[in-house]
């Protein structure tokens, strides 16, 4: 199935939604958990590390990696759905 201009538009809108959603999480795990709400999160701990500090030095990096993986899977699914041949 070749992509029509309608399906291309729908694909792009869906892609934008996915991108914005993931960027929101990107913001929350790094700037949110690691900086803005660090003191609050530091009252909890993961192993022997204060949680906010852990997010800033470890957790955010793992989360970034997961976000890119989700993006790759999500975009491939969208391309299949809208008949885009990447």
């Amino acid at each position: 199935m070749a992509a029509t201009s309608e399906s291309k538009k729908a694909y792009w809108r869906a892609a934008l939604r996915l991108t914005l959603g993931l960027l929101l999480i990107w913001f929350l795990v790094s700037y949110g958990a690691g900086i803005l709400f660090r003191e609050f999160l530091d009252q909890f701990s993961i192993g022997g590390a204060p949680l906010g500090f852990w997010f800033a030095q470890q957790g955010a990096i793992y989360a970034f990696l997961v976000l890119i993986v989700i993006y790759c899977i999500g975009m491939s699914a969208l391309e299949k759905k809208y008949g885009i041949e990447g």
């Binding site: 792009w12 204060p50 500090f53 800033a56 990096i61 890119i68 790759c72 990447g86």
Partner: protein, 584 residues
């Protein structure tokens, strides 16, 4: 076999490997030279990107910086990894779909303007020359400290190696050597990290040791470290004295800067498709995370170990026989200065002055409760370099670490060289001044400008200590990339209405404001009290990025819309596979 021989052996072996790869991966066309023929596997490109990205500073200095800054060091960890999310989601796949060779290439075509292309070339060159000088300086330091080769000779040898594979193989040669360099550097980084983690926490995995307990105790490593450093008058390890807004802005400037750095972006032009570019960004971050999640653990362990072994130790002067004196101190129930300290003292990375004349080494922070002055000053690079010896690893591991540090510096230098040479041969010569140049002529020009760039980089590296901007790589390179390149690339993809006038205004404003702010506060006597909104020069790129974005949008709105062919181009790069046929 002694340590210097091992170092010679490892450095020699790895350099031989890079040259062999260079001979094997020669470039036959401009497409090979600029983008490695567009057919590098996403995982291999991820590895090459990781080596390209992780510089001498990431390898040697970052863990030490974190050791001293504690939580404050998080800006580098989040900043230098979070940019890959932006690259994967906002830039890499679209720029790959666009299908050209360089970053100014995209700017020039998308904004149908030679002026925009030339401004982008200026930004790319400013970023790359600042950055490459730091790498060449690192190479010089490595040679002079470990191989007994004079500093300038070290730069000359390093420059020669890079020249060999960059000029012969272009992006193709660089890609395969970067893959080899990644393997060398990650091995050299993790082996000592595993052993120091075992010593401090008895857990072989540094990331787990980091959140685990001290070896043979129920106290968590970080709690213990917090107590130890506050007792000596430092800020609590898991906290910082920096303001929240500054931490936020520095992190953001590094992230957006990463995403705007030309030498990182062009790596994604080497894969086959937009889809491969997305995947490749994931692979790159995975390979980078292998080092970046280990670094904070190494930093914390090293700080703990340093305080444990050095603070209150009895100093042994060079005139005394170390072994006899150390045994005597131990017999008295004292703590002799560790052997690794004496060895590394010669490199001037450590210094000690007995201020209170008690013969012991007091390591103290600015607010020491016992009122004593600090007598020991360690350089931040010492922690990664001395780690193998602190962890009692055999002499060959140090040789490996030196080879790893050189791999990190050379791989980054090569990526930057590529940006410099392609900006000159492709964007300035072929696309701006001599459009009739043949393919063969352009390839020759590309090799020549790579050659010229190596020479220039070597000279800048050699005079690095007298050039103030070299030490400010972070502020300049990331600030310029974030404020001048990132906004117009993203607008060029996500906003069809963005036009030539907007792009030129946006780049100009971003470049001028950022360079002025940094220059004023770094070199012209500006003080912290004058910082706008309390944002340091390292973080200001993030603030001016929004200014540049706003100026670009406003200018575009009051000037004519871009031609319909350009709007069609923007629609095409958003959909994978639309432009594939054009550039196969």
């Amino acid at each position: 076999m002694d340590q210097q021989l091992w170092t010679y052996l490892f450095v020699g072996l790895t350099f031989g490997l890079y040259i062999a790869i260079a001979l094997w991966a020669r470039a036959g066309s401009t497409k090979d030279f600029y983008v490695a023929g567009h057919d590098i596997h996403p995982a291999l490109n991820g590895m090459a990107t990781a080596a390209d990205w992780m510089s001498a500073a990431s390898f040697l200095s970052m863990a030490g910086l974190i050791a001293f800054l504690g939580y404050g060091g998080s800006v580098y960890l989040m900043g230098w990894t979070g940019g890959y999310v932006l690259l994967a989601l906002l830039l890499a796949p679209f720029l790959r779909e666009f299908g050209k060779f360089t970053v100014p290439d995209f700017v020039g075509d998308r904004y149908y303007s030679k002026a925009a292309r030339v401004i982008a070339v200026i930004c790319a060159l400013m970023v790359s020359f600042t950055y490459i000088a730091g790498q060449m300086k690192g190479v010089g330091v490595a040679f002079s400290s470990f191989l007994g080769v004079p500093f300038n000779w070290g730069i000359f040898i390093g420059g020669f190696i890079v020249f060999f594979y960059a000029v012969l193989g272009g992006m193709k040669g660089i890609t395969y050597t970067q893959v080899a360099q990644y393997v060398v550097l990650i091995f050299a980084y993790t082996v000592p990290a595993i052993f120091i983690s075992l010593i401090v926490t008895s857990n072989p995995i540094p990331q787990l040791g980091f959140i685990g307990n001290m070896a043979g105790s129920e106290v968590s490593m970080l709690d213990k470290l917090n107590t130890v450093v506050t007792d000596l008058g430092f800020t609590e390890y898991t906290s910082t004295t920096k303001s929240k807004i500054d931490v936020f802005c520095i992190t953001a400037a590094l992230m957006f800067g990463t995403a705007g750095l030309p030498h990182v972006i062009i790596r994604f032009f080497t894969v086959k498709s937009a889809k491969a570019a997305r995947k490749s960004a994931g692979w790159a971050l995975m390979f980078i995370a292998l080092l970046y999640t280990v670094a904070p653990a190494v930093g914390a362990f090293a700080r703990m170990n340093f305080i444990d072994t050095v603070n209150e130790a009895t100093y042994i002067t060079d005139g005394e026989n170390y072994e006899e004196r150390a045994a005597a101190i131990l017999a008295d129930g004292g703590k002799p200065v560790p052997e690794w300290y004496k060895d590394w003292e010669k490199t001037n990375l450590l210094s000690y002055e007995d201020l209170n004349g008690d013969g012991k080494m007091q390591y103290r922070g600015p607010n020491a409760p016992d009122g004593l002055k600090n007598e020991v000053v360690p350089n931040r690079d010492i922690f990664v370099l001395a780690n193998p010896q602190i962890a009692n690893l055999p002499a060959w591991v140090i040789g490996l670490v030196v080879a790893g540090g050189l791999a990190a510096a050379l791989s980054t230098a090569a990526g930057l060289l590529m940006v410099i040479s392609s900006a000159i041969s492709h964007d300035l010569l072929k696309r701006t001044f001599y459009p009739n140049m043949s393919e063969k002529g352009e390839l020759r020009a590309a090799r020549l400008s790579a050659f010229g760039a190596v020479i220039a980089a070597a000279f800048i590296g050699a005079f690095a200590s007298s050039l103030p901007f070299v030490a400010q790589v972070v502020a300049f390179a990331f600030g310029i990339a974030a404020a001048s390149l990132f906004p117009i690339i993203v607008l060029g993809i996500f906003w069809k209405r963005m036009n030539k006038e907007g792009a030129i205004a946006s780049m100009g404003v971003g470049l001028i404001t950022t360079v002025s702010y940094i220059s004023y506060f770094k070199f012209m006597g500006g003080t912290e009290a004058g910082w706008w909104f309390g944002v340091s020069p390292e973080g200001i790129g993030f603030v001016f990025m929004w200014v540049a974005l706003a100026v670009g949008i406003l200018t575009a709105l009051v000037t004519p819309a871009p031609p319909s062919a350009i709007q069609q181009l923007v629609e095409d790069i958003r959909i994978p596979g639309q432009r594939g046929a054009i550039h196969e």
